[in-house]
């Protein structure tokens, strides 16, 4: 027997999976090189070893396998990471306006990664090897998120104004740090930081895809188990504790898992804001605030959205590409303001905290 409020979840999942398949094909097809769906099927089959590769297709295949496919996969994974992260953060802060960009996770990751870009090769990051960027991104993201979380939950309740102000302050500090680094950086590095501060999939490679995929699978897999606990947390920390949940442990585990996947994704593609805000919001409006539904659904919808945004980024000003972060900000910021406005108008008690 399924509760009345859960009926139709399967339908949403099926629709999202269908959309994801369609958006993956679309994203694989368009760009400087166009691949027909039939061509994509052949090349994918060749890649998987189902059919032998023909030598005549070498160039075509190289473009597809070395450039297009990693980019498509990285975009999808990043979208899923940001969607799930927004959902987790909103559960953690018990507030629908929270997302990784707001609470400093992204800016902290950017700062950490910029340190590696500028001071990089052959300094203190040497023992970390090629993992230096993700590791420092994680350290920066975790520190920033932790500060904002501690400040905004000082008295057991989430104080929204403290949350917003702490977010602004931490974002400003991280932004200043990144700005300082790009100021003292030599030209190619500085250009890198600028590009990457706006988010881009142009640098996608298989190593990045693998790294983000591993982090996503581990963190997402863990967070799926936290659905019920996140629901209980909506009632407040005390009520969750009465229901047999250890809120402090849950919050710590959530923060680590969430920061890990966001930091690694940010280290690969740069800062992409507002996706984590909009995805859960749309799903809440469509269906429900039940986290056992929101978590898987936000992964799917996040991936679909990011594929579409990436397609737009490739098509809008050819042959150049628009940075992803510009598109997400243009679409996401009005949604953010709309949520803020609506909740304020409702006199939402959560505003007073």
């Amino acid at each position: 027997m399924i509760p009345r409020t859960r009926r139709g979840h399967a339908g949403v999942y099926l629709t999202l999976v269908g959309l994801l398949a369609a958006s993956l094909v679309l994203s694989a097809a368009v760009g400087a090189f166009t691949f027909t769906p039939a061509r994509i099927a052949t090349l994918t089959a060749q890649l998987l070893g189902w059919v032998p590769a023909a030598p005549a297709d070498a160039l075509d295949r190289n473009v597809f396998i070395q450039l297009r496919l990693p980019r498509v996969l990285l975009a999808g994974l990043t979208g899923a990471v940001l969607g799930v992260s927004g959902t987790l953060m909103q559960g953690l802060f018990r507030n629908p306006i929270v997302e990784p960009g707001l609470v400093g996770t992204s800016a902290g990751a950017a700062f950490g990664a910029a340190i590696v870009f500028v001071f990089g090769a052959g300094t203190f990051t040497r023992p970390l090897g090629t993992l230096a960027v993700p590791v420092l991104a994680f350290a920066g993201a975790f520190a920033a998120t932790m500060i904002v979380y501690r400040l905004s939950t000082a008295f057991g309740k989430v104080h929204v104004f403290t949350l917003l102000l702490a977010g602004i302050a931490v974002n400003a500090v991280c932004g200043a740090g990144t700005g300082f680094l790009s100021y003292i950086a030599r030209d190619p590095q500085a250009r890198n930081i600028t590009f990457w501060n706006l988010g881009t999939f142009t640098t996608a490679d298989w190593r990045g895809v693998t790294l983000v995929a591993i982090c996503f699978v581990v963190c997402f897999g863990w967070s799926l188990r936290a659905g019920k606990a996140l629901n209980a947390l909506m009632l407040g920390e005390e009520e969750a504790a009465y229901l047999g949940i250890d809120p402090r442990r849950l919050v710590m585990q959530l923060l680590v898992a969430n920061t890990l996947m966001v930091a690694v994704a940010t280290a690969m593609v740069g800062v992409i804001a507002f996706v984590g805000l909009v995805i859960p919001h749309v799903l809440r409006m469509l269906k429900s605030s039940d986290y056992t539904f929101l978590l898987p659904a936000s992964a799917l919808l996040g991936a679909v959205t990011m594929e579409i945004i990436d397609v737009v980024a490739r098509l809008i000003i050819p042959p150049a590409e628009l940075p992803i972060g510009i598109i997400t900000a243009v679409v996401g910021a009005p949604v953010f303001l709309a949520i803020l406005l609506r909740q304020t108008r409702q006199g939402g008690a959560w505003l007073q905290g």
Partner: protein
Amino acid sequence: MVEVEHVSYAVGRARILHDVSVRFQPRKLNVLLGPNGAGKSTLLKIATGLLTPTAGLVRYMLPQGARALDTFPVDALARTRAVLSQHVEVAFPLAVEDVVLMGRYPHYGRTPTARDLEIVAAALDLVGMTDFRGRVYPTLSGGEQQKVQLARVLAQIWNEGESPRGQKCLFLDEPTSNLDVHYQLHLLEIARGLRDVDCTVIAVLHDLNMALQHGDAFFLLDGGRVVLETEDATTIPRDLLERVFRVRADRAVDSETGESFWRFRL
């Protein structure tokens, strides 16, 4: 069924409870009384396991034996006792049914069983909120929200059909302070009804007359100590009430029902 032994609680240098020992009576409505700052809510939170006492211990007497709180696994504890707080706010649009289903979280893994859903329906029915099951929780009035929360905590400790029934315990932390008189009476009536299903109720109540009229056992706290413990409301000495609550008290008699009640003045 709940015993508090030599419990003290201090925050920094402030001592909130001094060596409190209380034996809450099984299948009774136990009422904690006292002025603001007497330590009632702290004692309640210690008895629920939310706060750890600085000294002393809390024991739950269960059919399978006594169990100290510090050795009670949190999920087993959550199936034994539930707590209704003063007011629970939810910022998200959540259906009433989903809120009540949370009471069943300690009982099921990934998906609720048919039995869990039956209990949710029965709990909503008991508090008279069946018609509201599809409504969005944050849009309800304060009284309606509190009834939904009551249904949730009832679902949490719902005694299943098995016999002998498990011993359950319901804590009420000033549950009626935001409610009008109708909701207050309704809530207390439901709480009294629980005594018949092997449930011990422990409540912090502010309205003295309401408490004395409906309670079975009374524990009066003042300055972090239990100053009176009685089962008979009529034996509470007037001078003690006057001193503890810093008021002047007169016993009056309702001319229609013959029941006596207290009238307070400064």
